[in-house]
Amino acid sequence: MSDSLEFDKVIKGFGAVKALDEISFSIKKGEFFSLLGPSGCGKTTLLRLVAGFEKPDSGRILLNGQDITNLPANQRPINTVFQSYALFPHLTLWDNIAFGLRIAKHSKEYIKKEVESMLALIQMEEHAYKKPDYISGGQKQRVAIARALVNRPRVLLLDEPLAALDLKLRQRMLLELDLIHDEVGITFLYVTHDQNEAMAVSDRIAILNRGKLEQIGRPIELYEAPQSSFVAAFIGDTNFLDGWVAEQQIKEYSLLSIEDFPQVICFNDKKLSVGDPVHMSIRPEKIHISREKPAEKPLINSMQGIVEDIIYQGDHTKFGVRVGGHRMTVFQQHSRFLLDESPITWNDKVWLWWHADDGFILERYQVIKENEMGRSFENTLQEQN
């Protein structure tokens, strides 16, 4: 597949604030690509640059190899689905969808054919002559998508299109969006702050933080192999432990020392040597929890802790377990419910264990960087809690 959209050292600032700091990456043709990050990370700015509503301070944006950096919005073969839908209130849904085609001066027959096929795609034929004020949020969303797609853009931009919908509707629209993408096969550039949305539909995701690109990858890569603490914390939940490499073990495993915590063994793909400071991350669902001591095996970290907190969440329970000076978050899936088995409760002494391959090491310098990044990172954590 060839590149559809390419960013080449794009810089954009608003006053003293750098909204985008030398962003370079490319999106493949037909890809469902998401820009993910906390509010203020620059994702919407990037989208507006692609749409043509803003111009970068420097750098280039290429569409199918052609430089579109200075092309005005109305001359770009790119259409947008706005967060607030931005449907024209004085026009019927039919006329809303036909707007772009009429501006492009297509023939009446062509417009009729295209608008009607779009109405069929979004299953809104019966509402065609209503005005936007008389339809629901989910319906508006579908009309906004149809209004953009009918122009057959090279790239469809979606600016948090589901933010205004309630959870159930959001999940349904997300599936619909995925189906529409499969059907029309054009490049989708999707902006969201909701990692679940992005994970569910994207081929690839770019994670932005404070105007900088943190990581680009498939959802599974971002989750299982985050390259920075920010990504590890932003995508899913995780436990962070700060320590240093105490001893190189067999092959690629290292023993880590962590203050006020048992020594843990962890996969070390960063080739760090003894004494290097590290930042270890372990996902809550990878930690097992039980009252019984697990069997001693190589490459298994096991430790004792005290349950401080239990949050029952239906499909799983979230435990807060104190181990030494740290508090570990552990998820336990409920595969079966047994009334006679006494569940783990507050102040129970429990065993936690996980395999060395499940933890990952992130360099310590990223922790320092993250502190510099300060606020947006903290906001992210707060949003998640």
Binding site: I78, I103, N151
Partner: protein, 286 residues
């Protein structure tokens, strides 16, 4: 739930106000319009249609026509100037907006009459504006700037422009400028977005601005009186003349009735058209 007493209590003052200052005077005017007058400014017994027939004499029709014509031109020019102004005001920063709005309202701090007299002295053959224009060779020394239709229109537009800007600004302020971006995104140029999206979206504001300018313009009589001279009489002047000079209240009443009708009829047509198009949309939609 509101009690009946509360409802009546709340409605009563405004109902009384309308009754005393609107319904009764209007009834008196309608009543007088069908009464014969006497030579001394009084009303005679009996009923007559003479006053109504009198409206259709060529002399009165010319004045009625001129009144409507002046008002329409004034309204059109005010709207044309106010639309881009409102559009710009709604988009500018809050600080600039405050200053500009203040500048628009500032003329109201001076009495309306004084402002019209100021125009008179500006346009006067020996006035500042006239002399400047002659100096710049824009006009000849013998061109008259005062006492013609142009002078009346100029001062009317000057006076009523704020009444067009303010409602249009209010409407434009509520306009979702995302729609403008959406139109551009769909391929519209700036001017296409302005005509196809902005203008239709602020239609209620345009209607308000139209009425805010058209109605007072129809009733204007100070401006044509002071800067219009003898050849630019409008209905307002005629009504004033019949009332204060000729002491012919029945004819003044019939002229007032004509003025009211000239304002009411187009308004009723507008509202009727709107209601009709709304109905059509609803029929199509359901």
């Amino acid at each position: 739930m509101k009690s009946k007493f509360e409802e009546v209590g709340l409605t009563f003052p405004s109902a009384l106000w309308l009754l005393v200052f609107f319904l009764i005077p209007t009834s008196v005017i309608i009543f007088y319009a069908f009464k014969p007058g006497d030579l001394y400014g009084g009303i005679q017994e009996g009923w007559t249609l003479d006053n109504i027939k009198n409206l259709f004499t060529p002399h009165h029709l010319v004045i009625l026509w001129r009144t409507i014509w002046f008002s329409l031109i004034t309204t059109a020019v005010c709207l044309l100037l106010a639309l881009p102004t409102g559009f710009f005001l709604a988009q500018t920063s809050l600080k600039n907006r405050r200053i500009l709005l203040l500048l628009i309202v500032v003329p109201f701090w001076t009495s309306f009459l004084i402002r019209v007299f100021a125009w008179k002295s500006l346009l006067h053959p020996e006035g500042f504006l006239k002399k400047t224009l002659v100096f710049l060779h824009f006009v000849n020394d013998d061109t008259l700037l005062l006492y013609n239709a142009g002078a009346v229109l100029l001062v009317m537009i000057y006076t009523y422009l704020p009444f067009a800007i303010l409602p249009l600004f209010t409407a434009a302020e509520k306009f979702n400028f995302n729609l403008f971006e959406a139109a551009m995104d769909l391929g519209a140029s700036r001017s296409q977005a302005f005509y196809k999206v902005f203008i239709p979206s602020i239609k209620p504001g345009i209607l308000t601005a139209f009425l805010m300018v058209f109605i007072p313009a129809m009733g204007a009589y100070v401006i044509p009186d002071i800067v219009g001279g003898i050849n630019n009489e409008v209905l307002g002047n005629k009504i004033a003349q019949r009332t204060f000079v000729d002491r012919d209240l029945p004819e003044a009443s019939s002229l007032s009735l004509a003025l009211a009708m000239a304002v009411l009829l187009p308004m009723m047509v507008i509202f009727w058209l709107q209601a009709d198009s709304d109905k059509k949309i609803k029929k199509k939609g359901f």
